[in-house]
């Protein structure tokens, strides 16, 4: 009996080992395993054995054989599943450098990229972002900025005038803003200090386009109005911006200059880690007349303002030789950045 059991087990194991596919393992499972399988059938012959001990031993042997067969089935099933998966994976091979189609990401304008980077740095320094109209009144663009009618400095702005006439107003008093500074005035008139804003925006000059000039370009302007603001605060803020935007090896300096809307006025330069200086923008302490135009008492409030061009930042960052390229809207240019 025991030998029959052993033989059956050996035969079953041999069949399992030889099963070529998962389907064959399923067939074998039905044939060999479970209460109705070939091995279980051997149990019926146990009754023919005389001794209890023999019956016990043979019963144990059948059970062991069944367990061994089940284990072999499971192992073979796993083995075949793995082989099958491997061959499927192998059959699915792709050449990933065989790329059909084209990139589908859109590209933000370079000015926008620079604009948002600048905004983010200033937001990090505690500034909010303010905006204003691009077509402005003469009052906001000049007069409130300490440039009354006839002020000689007005000529330096190469202003573009438009034919809009305000109700009851004079022709020639509506301009395309020549700087973002009118936003200073609007902010002062609309909000109570303390004011900590930057105003990025589009500005206009009657300038013939060339490699470094466009009649339509972009500036960012900062304004701080608070109690006890000093020129040292201006220097410190410019320095903080310089390091935050350009990097820790960069430094800044102020040197005297002239703008009608600030006094004292200063240009600010940035020093590269290699020691070279680059002129960046203009700044200064807000002129008392400008504070007054903004409805603020210069004996109570003081502040500083600064501004510089955005286009140039984009142009220099990417080594663009001619600023007009940035405005040609040529997709071959746009997709480079």
């Amino acid at each position: 009996m025991i030998s029959d059991i052993t033989a059956a087990q050996d035969a079953a194991l041999a069949d399992i080992a030889a099963a070529p596919s998962l389907e064959d393992v399923v067939v074998l499972t039905t044939r060999l395993s479970g209460k109705k399988g070939e091995l279980a059938a051997l149990k019926k012959r146990l009754g023919s054995l005389d001794s209890i001990d023999d019956r016990k031993a043979a019963g144990q042997a059948v059970n062991d054989a069944m367990a061994a067969v089940d284990a072999a089935l499971a192992a073979r099933r796993a083995e075949l599943a793995q082989v099958e998966m491997a061959s499927r994976v192998d059959a699915e091979r792709l050449d990933l450098t065989e790329f059909v189609g084209r990139p589908t990401r859109g590209h933000a304008h370079l000015v926008t990229q620079a604009w948002e980077r600048l905004e983010d740095v200033f937001v990090g320094l505690g500034f909010r972002v303010a905006e204003g109209p691009e077509v402005e009144t003469d009052w906001h663009n000049f007069e409130a900025l300490n440039m009354p009618v006839g002020h000689p400095a007005r000529g330096e702005w190469d202003t573009l005038f438009v034919d809009h006439v305000p109700p009851g107003g004079e022709p020639g008093t509506t301009v395309l803003r020549t700087h973002t500074s009118p936003v200073q005035i609007r902010t002062m008139l609309e909000e109570e200090p303390p004011i900590y804003i930057v105003a990025p925006g589009r500005v206009f000059r009657r300038d013939t386009p060339d490699a470094t000039h466009m009649p339509v370009f972009h500036q960012i302007e900062g304004l701080v109005i608070d109690r006890g603001i000093t020129m040292a605060d201006l220097a410190g803020t410019i320095e903080a911006f310089t390091q935050a935007y350009f990097g820790p090896g960069f430094h800044s300096r102020l040197r005297p200059s002239y703008f009608p809307f600030t006094e004292p006025s200063a240009e600010f330069d940035i020093q590269r880690p290699n020691g070279d200086w680059i002129e960046l923008g203009g700044s200064g302490m807000v002129h008392p007349n400008v504070l007054r135009a903004g409805g603020l008492d210069p004996e109570v409030w003081s502040g500083f303002a600064f501004g510089f061009g955005i286009d140039r930042m984009a142009k220099e960052r990417h080594g663009i030789e001619d600023i007009r390229e940035m405005y040609a809207d040529d997709i071959r240019f746009i997709e480079q950045f």
Binding site: T104, G106, H107, A108, V111, E116, E119, F122, V123, G124, L125, F127, R128, V129, E134, V135, T137, G150, P152, A153, G155, F161, V162, H164, P166, P167, G172, T174, Y196, R202, P215, V216, V224, D226, G228, T230, M231, A232, D233, A235, G236, E239, A240, R253, L254, R255, P256, S257, E263, P264, A266, M285, P288, S302, Y327, A328, D329, I331, R332, I334
Partner: protein, 788 residues
């Protein structure tokens, strides 16, 4: 302002021109004072190999229009041949000749290089080529009698010098003169300042030139001094050299002294030949309309009633006040007696005349910024002192005219300065006693005691009127670099506004959809709006650079269509572009009805592509709008476009650009388009989406196809299905649209998948049957027919 260092050193010991370190230090000092040095040029460094030569013969060559053949004699009697492109030379002129082998300051090496097969034995040089100055108009011509064959530096008495190019800002009128610059630098460096102190007396017999100022607001002071014993001849070499280096061409001793005094003391002036001065006097008045005068530059100009003329006593114009003299009143070789004008003009008036006539001069540039209204007496004496060097018999006559009007700024102006205000603005901790040390040397005289001091403002600093002007002077002379670096102390928080955040979101969504950002010119050509089929009412620029860029856009569409056309012409088809930018429709208000717009154009795509973009954007921004094909926006495709309507408010448009417009813009592809008024969309965040629990019960899909005439919008069928399906419908997708002959020209089949699910139980067949019945009923009512 070009500053010749040797000239500046006349008023103080500033820097040795041959010491580059000292020169660089001086340049830094100027920059730290607000006189930004933009360039430092070493001049007068003699170029080895350049010698003096006399022109012997000039020969034109028939095949070379722009150059001529020149024979020169370099002192040894031999004829050397050179080619020369300048036309200011004549036989017997003595000129600098760079011989073969000379290395020029710009690095060029002179070679025996000829043209047309004829060698050149050297090169004749301009002042700039020799590093002598800026003049590159022609060959430098040396004074007659200059010895031949000697190094030109020796012949000219040229010594090494430095030319500093400093940027003078509008608030520093004094720095348009050497003395003003020297005063500032001397104060900063603590060097002794030596301004000219001319010792000339008006001791000649009294001689007057009557002066009548008619328009006293425009000319507030006019002095005229009679000087006789004048002999017109070339200036001394040192003066010619200085003027040349400063970029002015020496003319004769009278004109040169006039220019010299202007450059030195910032006092423009004009010498008239008294013998030819009509009526022997002056009348200063506004021009009559269209009155003409030929100015020194040879142009006959017409003037307006806002332009100031200097006339002689017979009322004949002889000059444009503060701008330029008349051609006919120039002094001549026969002049022996001059009437010397020194005057003060209204800054604004000069500026207006300059702008209107586009006539500008060294004098007008100075008057426009403000010369010292009280500097004439010294300047007159200085003029006489310098002219006497070449005219030993010169006499200054007593009794010169000095007319002043009430518009002349007073000689003494003062302002109170609080040390407190100084420190509050600068963040310094200066003692009040530090003020005189910083201010007195630059002519701001501090007096009084206590914390508030009276400061008398210098007459040459008309820009200074208020306390803050004096504070700026303190800051300059204290040093901007010594101010601290602190940061403001207020607790504020930065951030982007809702609008700014949502603008970025719009951009991010579009970039993610593969659409790139363009920035076309906001100025359009006249007719472009009409070409785009848009309303033509627009604001125009009154003084455009070019007419093609004179109309303010009222829509972003034309610019983007031009961008597509441009890209198509460069073989870039299928571009997908968007712009976020302002448009400026006209209005009756204080300002135009400017708003922020968004336009998206998809070249080579059809209207549904635009709808898909709109839907993505609407979902991302949490806005909704009806696609109203009943209202076709101007310039868009009549059967493929719609207004986006939020309630009664139009938000924008979606669809395709009209074929006629595309043709007009030269665009070959179809163009799908979305246009939005961002002002209506990005100012407010929508309410945050609220959570709906997702059902854990199994769902079931029901596919239904309907035949719906194209005259009924699919949107309505959507709505009917939703309504008919009731609360078990959790998702509705239109997954197929089919048009075929069987359905007729007006028919189409729309296939929808309805996902059904109950929140709390399994669906039964009866549930599904109910939904189907409900949907069918609603669809039938609309005019749709369920296909089985």
């Amino acid at each position: 302002m070009k500053i010749l260092l040797s000239w500046l050193n006349e008023y103080g010991d500033f820097a040795d021109p041959t010491d580059p370190v000292a020169v660089a230090r001086l340049a830094d000092t100027l920059t730290s004072l607000g006189l930004e040095v933009e360039a430092i040029a070493v001049i007068g460094d003699t170029v080895d190999g350049v010698i003096t030569a006399r022109i012997v013969e000039l020969v034109a060559h028939p095949d070379a229009a722009n150059v001529q053949r020149v024979y020169v004699d370099a002192g040894d009697g031999e004829r050397l041949h050179v080619w020369c492109g300048a036309d200011n030379i004549a036989v017997d002129d003595i000129v600098p000749l760079a011989v073969i082998g000379t290395e020029m300051p710009n690095g060029m090496k002179i070679e025996r290089r000829g043209i047309l097969g004829i060698d050149s034995e050297g090169m004749l040089c301009s002042a700039r080529e020799l590093g002598l100055g800026d003049d590159h108009a022609g060959i430098e011509i040396l004074p007659p009698g200059t010895p031949l064959g000697v190094p030109y530096g020796d012949a000219l008495g040229v010594t090494p010098d430095v030319l500093l190019d400093a940027d003078v800002t509008r608030n520093r009128p004094d720095c348009w003169g050497y003395v003003g610059i020297a005063r500032d630098v001397a104060a900063k460096l603590g060097v002794e300042f030596r301004p000219p102190r001319p010792q000339v007396e008006a001791d000649g017999q009294p001689a007057t030139t009557p002066v009548e100022i008619v328009d006293g607001d425009r000319c507030a002071r006019f002095t005229s001094t009679v000087i006789s014993g004048v002999e017109v001849k070339p200036s001394a070499g040192w003066m010619s050299a200085r003027l040349t280096a400063a970029g002015m061409r020496p003319i004769n001793n009278v004109v040169d002294v006039s220019n010299y005094v202007m450059l030195e003391l910032n006092q423009p002036n004009h010498a008239y030949d008294l013998d030819t001065l009509g009526g022997g006097g002056f009348r200063i008045r506004l021009a009559t309309a269209g009155e003409t005068l030929t100015t020194l530059d040879g142009e006959r100009r017409a003037f307006s009633t806002d332009d100031l003329l200097i006339c002689d006593a017979n009322d004949v114009p002889i000059g444009v006040g503060g701008v330029m003299g008349g051609l006919d009143s120039e002094i001549s070789g026969a002049t022996t007696t001059v009437a010397l004008e020194m005057a003060w003009f209204s800054l604004v008036g000069i500026g207006q005349t300059v702008t209107r006539t586009n006539l500008r001069s060294e004098a007008s540039a100075r008057f426009e910024r403000g010369v010292d209204p009280h500097g004439m007496p010294t300047a007159i004496k200085r003029f006489a002192e310098l002219l006497r060097e070449t005219c030993p018999d010169l006499v200054v006559h007593a009794g010169g005219a000095d007319e002043q009007t009430s518009h002349l700024p007073p000689a003494e102006r003062s302002v109170d300065v609080r040390i407190d205000a100084v420190n509050r603005l600068l963040g310094t901790d200066l003692a009040v006693d530090a003020l005189p040390g910083m201010l007195d040397p630059i002519g701001y005289t501090v007096s009084g005691s206590g914390d508030v001091r009276t400061v008398v403002l210098p007459s040459w600093r008309l820009d200074s009127t208020d306390e803050v002007d004096v504070i700026e002077e303190v800051a300059r002379h204290y040093g901007y670099d010594r101010l601290g670096t602190t940061v403001p102390k207020s607790v504020v928080h930065g951030g982007l506004s809702v609008r700014q955040q949502r603008r970025r979101r719009v951009r991010d969504v579009l970039l993610g959809l593969g659409i790139s950002e363009a920035m076309p010119n906001p100025f359009l050509a006249p007719g472009t709006l009409a070409k785009a089929g848009l309303p033509v009412d627009a604001i125009t620029i009154s003084n455009p650079l070019v007419t093609e860029e004179s109309v303010l856009r009222t829509s972003l569409r034309p610019g983007l269509l031009q961008a597509i056309a441009y890209n198509e012409s460069h073989r870039s088809a299928g571009v997908r572009l968007f712009e976020i930018g302002h448009v400026y429709p006209p209005s009756d208000g204080e300002l135009p009805a400017e708003y922020e717009a968004l336009t998206i154009v998809l070249a080579g795509e059809e209207a549904p592509a635009a709808v898909a973009v709109w839907r993505e954007l609407a979902a991302a921004l949490g806005v909704g709008a009806r696609i109203d094909q009943g209202r076709v926006p101007a310039g868009l495709h009549a059967t493929r476009s719609a207004t986006l309507q939020a309630g009664k408010q139009p938000l924008g448009a979606v669809g395709e650009v009209a074929p006629a417009v595309l043709a007009a813009f030269g665009v070959g592809e179809r163009v799908a388009i979305v246009e939005l008024n961002l002002d209506e969309i990005i100012d407010r965040d929508p309410k945050p989406a609220q959570w709906r629990p997702t059902s854990r019960q199994p769902s079931s899909d029901l596919d239904l196809a309907f035949v719906l005439p194209v005259s009924i919008p699919a949107e309505k069928l959507d709505k009917a299905i939703r309504q008919g399906a009731g609360s078990l419908l959790v998702d509705l997708t239109l997954f197929d649209v089919f048009r075929g002959e069987r359905l007729g020209p007006d028919g189409r089949s729309l296939a929808y998948r309805l996902r059904l699910q109950a929140a709390d139980r399994n669906l039964t067949d009866a549930d599904i049957a109910d939904v189907r019945r409900g949907v069918e009923a609603a669809a039938t009512k609309l005019g749709a027919e369920l296909r089985s």
